[in-house]
Symmetry: C2
C-alpha cells in the first residue's frame, strides 16, 4: 500500500472530523438535522480551485444555527496576501484544507463555540494551524474549567509546552482591541506549526487528529449540562448584544474570514459563522455586580482556568 501524501491524509481526516462532529450535534439537538451543500470553487486563475462541503443545522431545539464546514481548496494566492503570510510579494501556489465550525445555541445559558483545524501549503512551505474557543453569555466556571481540561489533556500527550503556549496565543488572538475584551474565555490557538521545517509534520498531524476528535468531549457535556436551564427575555437580549461582539471580531479582525474573502472563497460558507440574530444598542446599561458584569470583567482579565 502506498503512503498517502499529507494533502490526501489531511483531506480525509478533516472529512472524518466533520462527520463525527455533525453526528454528535444532531444527537444532542434531538430535532434538527444538518443540511449538506457541496460546492466547487473557481480559482483566481480561472481554473478548478477545489471545493468543499458545507453543513448547516438551523432552527434546532438546542442549536439556533450550527455550521460545520469542510473545504480543500487550491490555486494561486494573491501577491498581497502571500506577502502577509511572510512569503514574497508574488502570486503563489497554495493548497488549504480544514474544518471550521461555529455553533450558536438558542439558550443564552449554553455557550457559543468555534473550532478550526487546517493544513496549508504555500509555495515551498507547509504548516498546521487551528484551535477552538468558548464564548459564554453567562459564565459557569466549571464549564470553562472542563473545556480547558480536555484541551490540556490532548496537548500534554503531544508536548508539554503546547497547552500554555497555545492557550496564551488564543487569549491574544481572540481579542477586540476597541472593546478591550477577549471574545470569550479562550481555548487554544496555534498557527504555522511545522513551517520552520524543524517539526515533524506527521507528529503534528496526530496532534490535530486528536484535537479534532476531542472536540465533542470538550463541548457536548457543557451543552448537556446547560440546555435545560431557565432563562428569560433579559438573558436573551444580553445574548443578542454579546453576539454583536462576535460579529465585530469576525468582520474586523479574523484572519480566517479575511483569508476566505480574499481567496475568493464561498461567501455563504465563510459567513455562516455569523450569528442568526444580533442586536446593537447604543451604550447598553449594566447593573453593578450582575452576572452580565461578571462576564465582562472576566473577558477584560483573561484567567488561567486550570490552576
Amino acid at each position: 500500500m502506498t503512503q498517502l501524501s499529507m494533502r490526501d491524509q489531511t483531506t480525509e481526516l478533516f472529512k472524518a472530523i466533520q462527520s463525527h462532529i455533525c453526528q454528535a450535534l444532531e444527537q444532542v439537538d434531538g430535532t434538527a438535522c444538518f443540511k449538506t451543500d457541496e460546492w466547487k470553487r473557481t480559482d483566481l486563475s480561472g481554473h478548478d480551485g477545489g471545493g468543499g462541503v458545507t453543513r448547516v443545522l438551523a432552527e434546532g431545539a438546542v442549536f439556533e444555527k450550527a455550521g460545520v464546514n469542510f473545504s480543500a481548496v487550491h490555486g494561486l494566492m494573491p501577491a498581497d496576501f502571500a506577502a502577509k503570510l511572510g512569503n514574497e510579494r508574488q502570486e503563489t501556489k497554495f493548497f488549504a484544507t480544514g474544518v471550521s465550525l461555529v455553533i450558536h445555541p438558542r439558550s443564552p445559558m449554553v455557550p457559543t463555540t468555534h473550532a478550526n483545524w487546517r493544513y496549508i501549503e504555500l509555495g515551498e512551505q507547509s504548516w498546521f494551524g487551528g484551535g477552538s474557543d468558548l464564548t459564554p453569555y453567562y459564565l459557569f466556571e466549571e464549564d470553562a474549567v472542563h473545556f480547558h481540561s480536555v484541551l490540556r489533556g490532548v496537548c500534554d500527550k503531544h508536548h508539554p509546552d503546547y497547552y500554555p503556549r497555545f492557550k496564551k496565543w488564543c487569549d491574544e488572538y481572540f481579542y477586540l482591541p476597541h472593546r478591550g475584551e477577549t471574545r470569550g474565555i479562550g481555548g487554544l490557538f496555534f498557527d504555522y506549526l511545522g513551517r520552520d521545517g524543524q517539526t515533524d509534520l506527521n507528529g503534528l498531524y496526530r496532534f490535530v487528529h486528536d484535537l479534532g476528535f476531542a472536540f465533542t468531549d470538550q463541548y457536548i457535556p457543557i451543552v448537556e449540562r446547560r440546555k435545560g436551564a431557565e432563562y428569560g427575555e433579559h438573558e436573551r437580549q444580553f445574548q443578542l448584544l454579546r453576539r454583536g461582539r462576535y460579529v465585530e471580531f469576525n468582520l474586523l479582525y479574523d484572519r480566517g474570514t479575511h483569508f476566505g474573502l480574499q481567496t475568493a472563497g464561498r461567501i455563504e460558507s465563510i459567513l455562516m459563522s455569523l450569528p442568526p440574530l444580533v442586536r446593537w444598542d447604543y451604550c447598553p446599561s449594566m447593573e453593578a455586580c450582575s452576572r452580565e458584569e461578571t462576564l465582562i470583567t472576566t473577558l477584560k482579565n483573561p484567567r488561567d482556568w486550570l490552576v
Copy 2:
C-alpha cells in the same frame, strides 16, 4: 469683526447641521426624543484630543434607532494611518470635524440612510469630504429619484461636474465586493476636496453647508410617504437580513469606521451606525420575480436615477 478660521467655521456649521437634523427627525417620529451625550477624547499623545456630542433616538414610532454624531477631534494620527491617507509614514498632527448620521427606521418600507460631512486637516493639507446615500429594503423608484434630485439640485448650484462625479464615486465606494452588490441605491460620495490647494476652501465650505441643510429635504418626504405603509413578518425578516449587509460593509470596508477605531475615537459613537436588530441566515432563499429579487438586481446593476 475678525474672520473665523476654517476650523472654527466648520465646527460651528456641523453643530448647527446636527441640531437642524435632530429637530426634523423628532418631529417626524412624533414620540421619541434624542438623548445627548457629550464626550471628551484623549489623544494618543495622552493630551486633550477634542470631543463630540452624540445624539441617539431609540425605539421611536418611526425610527428604531437614529444616531446623529458631531465631533471635533485633534491630535496625532498614527504613522500607518497617515501613510494610508497619502502622507509620509510618520505621526502627523490632525484635526477633524464632522457630522455623521445613520437612521434605521422600524418599517422595512422606509429606507435606511446615512450621511456624513467632514473637514480635515492633516499636516499641511486641508480638505472636505462627505456624502449621503439611501439603502431601501423595498424599492420605490420615485423615492430613489427624489433623493437623487435633491442632491443634484445642490450640486448643480456649485459645479456642473459635482453630481455625476460624486454619484459615481458613491456607487464605487458603497460596494460590497464579496456580495457583488452596492449597499443601496447610492447618492453622493466625495473626499479630499481642496487637498490639491487648487480649489477654494470657502467655496467648498458653502457646498458642504448646502448639502448639510438639504439633507432633511432629501430624506423626510420619503419617510412621510412610506411610514404608514403596511408590511408583515415576511418583509420584516427581509429587512433584518439586509441589515446584515449594512453591518458587513461598515465593519469590513468603511474607511470612516476604521478611521474612528484607529484614532482612538469613542467606540459607542462610531458603532452607533450598526442596526438595532440583524439576522444572518445561511443561503436565504428568494422567490423569482419577487420585490426582494428586484431590490437585489438593482443593487447589482447601479442605475442613473435621473435620466
